[in-house]
Subunit: 208 residues, 2 copies
């Protein structure tokens, strides 16, 4: 199998960190996002949405969406459990992963789409125009999310409880993407978020 | 256990349809969204985000997020499999469920937030203002999504393949919410989407 990847994009990084935590090695193929290689006819035969990451199996079947790829590996390599160790824990990891995706990832994507000079030509290529007020609207949502997350992380090691999970991987990739490419850094006064971020960033997998 | 529910909201309906497909009966408690009961201190002790659905277990532990609740029941009652029957099928159901959530659910929520008179006072209560251009921007994304979905459903019975899954439940709830409350109906010229919608709507579970 092989993983279609790009080292600058946040969603493929989720898979790379997951694989590093599991100790699984998968050959990667870098997809050139600046040249829009993911939108080529050849790539759309692997994922008709034209996005990465994509896992191609040895028989040519493909799995798109970072969490779908990670879940597939979780079944092949159950230990260490990164989606939770029992039914209730798995429900809570799913809940927390979604809270991070919907509460942070979605508004972050809106700020990225509507507020970045990098995405402006991509939006124009779709025949649309950025809506700067939508970027501002979502910046406020992100600020509220981080204040809420800081309260939740009081006295807790990881996003979904005491055990590191895919919810931490999702949050790490979103937080780092926000700082590096969207110009949104976590307020250092949010001490619990800052402590959590320092801890997960110190894991070797964060270099993936 | 009991399910905190509201019969008008799309996400609790996902859980109700799922339970109906499984033949599982769970007592429900209606949460009054118009009176903002989900934002009360009492409810936020169950889900600090103040949203529904929430499943409360007999020991008082709570699970929020519709898909997390459904996954929990999938472990207790594996048959019929609604998240896929083997590792690859489960990966594809996850992929398709996410494609529908991210490709339809997310822009639909933007149109709902920025384009509906129903949400205007809720946005104002957060100290913000609707961004009508964001609603228009996302209407175009939804139209593109449906054209893409129509091509994908050519010759296929269900969203994730031949077998009914949670991806169909997600899509049904989003499509019906779009038509009923957001003023977005599927173009009848998209024959594959129309056929799929008629088929899933005819299942007894769609009445849940």
């Amino acid at each position: 199998m092989k993983l279609y990847d790009n080292v600058l994009a946040p969603n493929p990084r989720r898979v790379r960190i997951y694989l590093a935590e599991k100790g699984i090695e998968v050959p990667t193929v870098q997809v050139d996002l600046f040249r829009r290689e993911q939108k080529s006819d050849a790539f759309k035969r692997k994922n008709s949405l034209g996005s990465i990451p994509v896992l191609e199996l040895d028989d040519g079947q493909c799995i798109a969406e970072s969490v779908a790829i990670c879940r597939y590996f979780e079944e092949l390599h159950p230990q260490p459990a990164l989606f939770g160790g029992n039914a209730l824990e798995r429900a809570h990891v799913e809940m927390w992963n979604r809270r991070v995706e919907l509460g942070l990832g979605v508004p972050l994507a809106q700020v990225w789409i509507h507020g970045s000079p990098i995405t402006a030509p991509l939006v124009a290529a779709e025949g649309a125009a950025q809506v700067p007020a939508a970027a501002e609207f979502n910046r406020a949502i992100i600020a509220r999310f981080f204040r809420w997350l800081d309260r939740e992380l009081d006295g807790r090691a990881c996003i979904a409880g005491e055990r590191f999970s895919v919810a931490d991987i999702t949050a790490l990739c979103m937080v780092d993407f926000a700082a590096a490419l969207v110009g949104i850094a976590v307020d250092p006064a949010l001490a619990n978020v800052a402590r959590w971020h320092a801890t997960v960033s110190a894991r070797p997998s964060a270099q993936a």
